[in-house]
Amino acid sequence: MDHASEPATLAADGSTPATTEPMTAMNERVRYPLFGVGSLALAWELLARLAVDGLTPLSDVLAAGVGLVASGELFVALAASLPKLALGYGLAVAVGVPLGLLMGFSSTADALADTPVTTLFVTSVASLLPLLIAVFGAGIGFYVVVVFLFAVFHVTLTLRAGVRDVDDALVETGRVFGASRLGVYRHVLLPASLPHVAAALRLGAVRAVKGMVVGELWVYAGFGSLLHGYQRYGQTDSALAVVLVLMALSVGIAGGLGALERRYAPWHHVEGGVR
């Protein structure tokens, strides 16, 4: 249906302006994931109670989680782990975003950086851990480097792929309407890349949390020492509670970045936010 001839009619067409998005669509965005998580939780509980012997029921895990909060252990772990995560991730973003943009924008930069970045991307960071300890010691520097290495290549390569994806026709359009060489970067390529920056940051954050846990399991600290301690003494419920906390941390950071994206790159979400 096309009401292009009559803009006034279009305003009444509910599908058109984002501001009149039907409430049901909003609800679906919340309801469907909740349903998914709920089903999973129920399946876990039932399996543990009725079928699988070694599996700790979810309710026990949640109870252990309450204990984790009450005893203050969770906050000790958070205080120990979050600074490493923030530093490592911050560095990964500070390096990965400019590098990814540069590789996407310039074929020369891409040719220069492609081999080292791709090689390191496919290298297992975990296999480098002994080497990293030898170089950086077992202090905070070690964890920061592990988090950095886990995240930086994903940020770089996601962003490069996204920038490459920007339609050449938009660049030409920018030139036709008077954008200078520099103006094309500033007013076309950069804003067109912004949604890809957001995607790269989200992926990088999830990788950074993984890096943090791997580092802390290698040289016990923060969440790593919590996990290790509980597992060693058979406190599976508490160990799983820690795992849930870590999942929540990843989801929370990714969700926060998603909110930032909706605020600073709103055009990317006007059609249901699935692109």
Binding site: P7, E172, V176, G178, P191, W267
Partner: protein, 253 residues
């Protein structure tokens, strides 16, 4: 005064399979304030011809001139409207229309006034703050048209601008373009594969053939202005012209 001129223009692209000739030996002139359409089958090089005038491509041989000066690169003096709209997704309707004025450093207050005027002209005032993805195809091309006209160009280059629209929307936009142009009379080079569209809008229709990709015929369109699409299209004279171009195009293929 703005005239476009192509002198013995040839454009070839190198490819792995050998050179491809997109435009072979084309000479043409578009007079000041003249509306000229180029029709032809797909692959005849009509879009390449437009891109040469836009300054997005350089000719392999020959010269492409605006007011006698060789075209060195793109310029908002020769604004373009694209088949696939090419709107900036991250800008609102207002931001898209303002793009060219911003690049020219037009002061904010004046810019706003001019943008608002154009939004009013194309009937998008209520959608000034919407993003392109929220608009229908017809509305998007209205934005494309307003973006091009807002820079007050000497020449309007239009590359099958209504080719992606449904028939009804296309007819509406054609008649809006007619009104706009009869009001303002800029020099227009309009590429299309739609013979009726070319006859309805133009002072002159250039027919391009494939192999060789060259202008093989010029048809002067004498219909009086202001023109009204539906009435004009049903006249016997219109049908005669349509048949003439149609026959000619068929011979070219």
């Amino acid at each position: 005064m703005t005239t476009l001129r192509a002198e013995r223009v040839r454009k070839t692209y190198r490819s792995d399979a050998g050179d491809v000739t997109a435009v072979a030996d084309v000479s043409l002139t578009v007079a000041d304030r003249e509306f000229v359409s180029v029709v032809g089958p797909s692959g005849c090089g009509k879009t390449t011809l437009l891109r040469l005038f836009a300054g997005l491509e350089a000719p392999t041989d020959g010269r492409v001139l605006v007011d006698g000066d060789r075209i060195e690169g793109p310029s908002p003096e020769r604004a373009m409207v694209f088949q696939s709209f090419n709107l900036f997704d991250w800008r609102t309707v207002r931001g898209n229309v303002a793009f060219g004025l911003e690049r020219r450093g037009v002061p904010e207050a004046e810019r706003r006034e001019r943008v608002d005027d154009w939004l009013d002209t194309v009937g998008l005032t209520d959608f000034a703050d919407a993003y392109p993805d929220e608009l229908s195809g017809g509305m998007r091309q209205r934005v494309g048209l307003a973006r091009a006209l807002a820079v007050d160009p000497d020449v309007l280059l239009m590359d099958e601008p209504f080719g992606a629209l449904d028939a009804q929307t296309r007819a509406v936009l054609q008649s809006e373009l007619l009104d706009l142009w009869e009001d303002r009379r800029t020099t227009v080079l309009f590429v299309t594969h739609d013979i009726e569209e070319a006859l309805l809008l133009s002072d002159r229709v250039l027919v391009m053939g494939a192999a060789p990709n060259a202008v093989t015929r010029t048809v002067n369109v004498p219909f009086e202005r202001p023109r009204h699409g539906r009435e004009l299209e049903t006249t016997p004279a219109f049908a005669d012209y349509r048949r003439e171009i149609w026959d000619h195009l068929r011979d070219e293929q």
